[in-house]
């Protein structure tokens, strides 16, 4: 597809066109039609924000297309194809979890926010499972997701938590939207967006309102030998684990405890606790389904065009507040909740 289409035709319009007559996309096309009626300026700006990434290949816009590969404990990508879109479950637990997890993440973007896949252009979603021997990680390689099986002592398979799958796929969304630099505060925002949309995918799938959700990232990927619930908590950063081997969850909840470090790209997985907690505070102040209120506001901010690659916490906070004002009005409870949340984590807007 020529790149010019990317900036002229809004992705949600493409979504709608592509979704017409396809029963599998009934919800997606309904959401897209809704967006079209609103003619939302925030969404229109998104097309410009997305003009930088270069698209390859001819993915069909508006169509969910998943491919799950098996690396067979080797560290080579993508591995052999295990399951393709529409195929029945393989019986391979990790492969089927990845398939479902990608579908749930796609559904949040498409049905709630009218976005066609991570790039807004229907990019096919590829994942590889059984990567490496005793491999203790999951990552996004710039093109696809990769999941290890864990070492069995600290970690089990990384697909065991839907939030890990949605976290990784959200790195794809970030790459094709703000492309936040993976260093320092912009890197912590990059991480935080993966955690935020990661938990929203799970909350939406389970129908959990903000009040009763766990707000945990990576629950279920530790073995029972580890003293810990999950990798991170948006509700209470710094409390997800406290273990002899792993140490204590190092995440701060507020700027007062911001960690200056040179490791982990300047603590991108540590200081993400601060914007994570701001999102939690905004979502619980509003109550109900977090993907509709606070999630919608964060999404609007991401695609507003105001979040540049070197964005810091203060600028991002201001952008979320602007997004809340634009969608819900100045003086709305949404705008108030967002301002209050950032103020409580030490990033006044």
């Amino acid at each position: 597809m020529p790149r010019i289409h990317c900036s002229i035709v809004p992705p949600y319009l493409l979504d709608r066109i592509a979704g017409l007559g396809d029963p599998q996309l009934a919800l997606a096309s309904r959401a897209a039609r809704h967006a079209l009626v609103e003619l939302d300026p925030v969404l229109q700006n998104r097309a410009e924000a997305l003009s930088a990434p270069v698209r390859r290949g001819g993915a069909v816009v508006g169509t969910l297309h998943r491919r799950i590969h098996d690396a067979g404990t080797r560290e080579e990508l993508p591995g052999t194809l295990l399951r393709e879109e529409g195929a029945t479950a393989t019986g391979d637990l990790a492969a089927d979890e990845a398939y479902e997890g990608l579908g749930a993440t796609y559904a949040l973007l498409s049905e709630e926010y009218g976005r066609s896949s991570v790039d807004g252009m229907g990019k096919a979603l590829h994942a590889t499972v059984h990567y490496g021997m005793n491999y203790d990680n999951a990552f996004w390689d710039g093109e696809q997701m990769v999941f290890g099986d864990g070492d069995g002592e600290i970690f089990t398979r990384f697909t065991a938590s839907l939030t890990v799958i949605s976290h990784e796929l959200t790195h794809g969304f970030t790459q094709y939207s703000t492309n936040l630099e993976y260093q320092g505060q912009s890197g912590a925002l990059n991480e935080s967006l993966s955690d935020v949309f990661g938990v929203l995918v799970e909350q939406r799938l389970l129908g959990e309102p903000a009040e009763t959700a766990s707000w945990l990232v990576g629950k279920g990927i530790f073995t029972d030998q580890v003293e810990g619930e999950a990798l991170r908590s948006l509700k209470a950063p710094g409390t997800a684990f406290d273990d002899d081997v792993l140490g204590k969850d190092p995440q701060p909840a507020t700027m007062a405890d911001y960690v200056e470090t040179s490791s982990d790209n300047g603590g991108v997985h540590i200081n993400s606790g601060i914007p994570n907690h701001a999102f939690y505070l905004a979502a619980t102040a509003l109550g109900g389904p977090a993907w509709e209120g606070a999630g919608r506001i964060w999404y609007d901010a991401v695609v507003s065009g105001s979040v540049l690659t070197d964005c810091d916490f203060r600028t991002f906070a201001g952008t979320t507040h602007d997004a809340a004002v634009q969608r819900f009005g100045a003086g709305s409870r949404e705008a108030g909740a967002v301002a209050g949340a950032w103020t409580r984590v030490g990033v006044p807007v």
Binding site: N137, G218, V259, T261, D264, H269
Partner: protein
């Protein structure tokens, strides 16, 4: 001579540290020249991958996992293997302690 390997990053952001003892000759002839030949990593599109920091004396090299070639893999495997105790019932050193999220260096002190 002790070589220290710290692995940071990953989706969990957990730092794990291992050490391996090598002779001074091996450190100087095999590992130091390799470390000094490494160029600083260029930021790419990879997210949540591991980064290895290898410290040999006063020389420190940072290697993204995606650029980890064979000689380094051998060194890391040796360090990780050295972390496994001879007696499986030895709980304090059954897995080397990591230092979650800080730059602090933990000496395993496992050498009797």
């Amino acid at each position: 001579m002790r070589i220290e390997i710290a692995r940071s990053g990953g989706v969990g952001g957990l730092t794990r540290t291992w050490t391996v003892d090598v002779s001074s000759a091996e450190a100087e002839q095999r590992w130091l020249p390799l470390a000094e030949a490494e160029v600083p990593p260029v930021p790419g599109d990879e997210r949540d991958r591991f980064t290895y920091r290898i410290t040999i004396g006063y020389t420190e090299v940072h290697l993204p996992e995606s650029r980890l070639e064979e000689p380094w893999r051998e060194l890391i495997d040796r360090a990780r293997a050295a972390a496994v105790p001879a007696t499986p019932e030895d709980p304090p050193s059954s897995v080397e302690p990591g230092t979650a999220g800080t730059d602090a260096v933990r000496d395993p002190g496992a050498q009797a």
